[in-house]
Symmetry: C2
Subunit: 369 residues, 2 copies
DNA sequence: CTGAAAGCGCTTACAG
DNA sequence: CTGAAAGCGCTTACAG
């Protein structure tokens, strides 16, 4: 059974504009001019304590709520930011959005969200139009190609900050941006695997559109440090399917005993693929993820991964934006967080000798829907 | 290393208000009055095709973007909804938000988001204030207690719709609401387990604040249908930790061979706990989740669960809201989606005889951080 | 079909 | 410290 109420409780049509109390109503009730009320709600120092209190009392008595549209229109300060991103549900995105929301709320801003479907200039103009206020600020999450293109297409009169993938050496982002540089963490993860005795480490790459990512560079550097062979990175998308497919392709390669994955979903998909072949993680194959999604420590075996604090990154981006528009919140930290290797249960020394042959016993049928 | 750009490319301060083109600029350039421009951008039929085209051309030539604040202030139709919820990252929430965003974008609305920290009336007033427009519409996601309280505290002059847990028989929501009724799916899941030969099914409940949820009722009904003993539901929160703890408590109970969990995170946490004890899922314990999170089919073993389409639910909620405010989008479906049992690998017949003793060999140390 | 008027609720200057 | 003025960019009626 499905259920829904068809039109109950539609007593109010939501357009009771006659009844909402305005700054003038407050002024009248408090015996002052409406400008004085304006000063009070804007925390102007040029109001005597007595009148301030009186006005404040009237405001709460009347249930006055300032009209944001009017404020924005009259040239008040920016009070909202709208975030543009290709996803709300992938971990990095949703965690970053959470951080952005927290930080914007702290400084008294509202937050809008709009999904990037396609990063055409036309769409970006539309997106900017939905920026809630005239010239309302934008934050674009540009982890992916569409996001990066969106960032480029943003109208130049809109204050914009971005969360991006760590740019390569010497590349300067076109907008104030924040990122996590995972070079060292990726190198650490690779060294960890190498230190366990693996001859080399395979890498399943998340999408990139402008040269290798910093995490890929870190991986490669660790390999080169010890003259380990560097297999070509496996290209993947963001979801578990990709890790599943990548790992299936590696199962018959006796040389492949360690796998660094561009994110945890990919890693978890790889774990699944290995297990389906009757092999064990980490006994037959070590796997390391990236991100430390909340579930990572509950997976079986618990996933070794590189933790990234996307929520803090979101907060840092808001701080950067506030610098840009000259509104600095109290104690806003703009430093991007570090990435950190978390060793759990999916990494171990390589098998004495990988059979390469599938161990029939453990073979499941392929994925169910 | 952490990285961030300090203040690069801050050529624009974002307040180039002198330069933004207004309806009057368009009017002048097109040789018409500004009302005519207004009519064009509002799709009024009372404009000749010739003038419409001319205006449209000028609009794109000048890069005109209507000012939403001015529109809202002047009494134009509602053009945004802001969603209130306690989380952006839990699956049900983020998927619902995605559906809401899609649907609002389709009808030309913008979407705001504000997290519910605490559902005090004061906070709700503040939240309403951040509704982007005066009397801007609200959607509250009331899966949890704080959400439900928020829904109650919403100022009555704001058009509001809600996504809620399926209400018990005879309970009428205070606002137009949508929900998924999981009664039958929960009963199906329980029957499935019973049909496999389990004597009974234990249930790990998600939080409830007004009697048993529909899914709990479905579970109980299936048990009663066959006179199976009905163990007290185990209370849990929304995350994997809770399933982990609940399952640990069940491991020594030889009677407990099947577990229905209030959501997939709980179920996955339970799987982890069982495995840590050296037991196997589903051989020693069958586990069923709820929601079908994207990862469910990749877990090892792949999770049997009840699929719920939260994205469709979000869309249905927007349709309900549009009915409320009298703005009906093209082809909006408001029917709430059904829940559906997806049988995968975590369910099987009960063990011939559960030892109840822990199998030392497989015991991991407890959870890493 | 199109234009001139008035006003939405606020905020900046500008005066006192 | 406080009030009277003007205007932000649009939209509804109201006239033609």
């Amino acid at each position: 059974m499905t259920g829904h109420i068809d039109g109950l409780n539609i007593g109010t049509d939501g357009c009771d504009r006659s009844q909402v109390v305005s700054i003038r109503d407050v002024a009248r009730a408090a015996g002052v001019s409406h400008q004085t009320v304006s000063r009070v709600i804007n925390h102007s120092p040029s109001v005597s304590d007595a009148t301030r209190e009186a006005v404040l009392a009237t405001i709460s008595a009347l249930g006055f709520r300032p009209n944001r549209a009017a404020r924005a229109l009259a040239g008040g300060p920016l009070q909202s930011v709208t975030v543009l991103a290709t996803s709300t549900s992938l971990w990095g995105y949703s965690a970053a959005i959470q951080g952005i929301e927290e930080a914007t709320r702290t400084v008294g801003f509202g937050m809008g969200f709009r999904k990037i479907e396609e990063a055409s200039p036309k769409n970006m103009r539309a997106a900017a139009e939905y920026a809630v206020e005239p010239a309302g600020a934008l934050i674009v999450i540009a982890f992916d190609r569409a996001g990066a293109m969106a960032l480029q297409s943003v109208p130049s009169d809109i204050p914009t900050a971005a969360i991006i993938q760590a740019p390569g050496e010497g590349i300067v982002p076109a907008h104030p941006s924040v990122w996590i540089d995972e070079f060292e963490a990726a190198r650490d993860a690779t060294r960890h695997l190498l230190g366990l005795g693996h001859r080399t480490v395979h890498y399943v790459a998340i999408p990139s559109w402008s040269g290798p990512t910093r995490r890929e560079q870190g991986w490669l550097t660790a390999l080169q440090e010890v003259d380990a062979p560097a297999p070509a990175p496996l290209k993947a998308g963001w979801t578990a399917e990709w890790g599943y497919e990548a790992a299936r392709g590696l199962v018959d390669d006796a040389e492949a005993t360690a796998l660094l994955c561009g994110n945890d979903d990919i890693a978890l998909g790889a774990v699944r693929a290995i297990s389906e072949q009757g092999l064990k993680v980490p006994d037959d194959m070590s796997i390391v993820g990236f991100d430390d999604v909340p579930f990572a420590r509950f997976s079986c075996p618990a996933l070794t991964t590189v933790r990234q604090d996307f929520t803090a990154l979101g907060r840092a981006c808001v701080a950067t934006l506030m610098d840009l528009i000259g509104t600095r919140g109290p104690g806003m930290r703009r430093t991007a967080p570090e990435a950190e290797l978390i060793v759990r249960e999916t990494t171990a020394p390589p098998p004495a000798r990988r059979s390469g042959a599938r161990c029939g016993a453990g073979v499941h049928s392929s994925l169910s829907p």
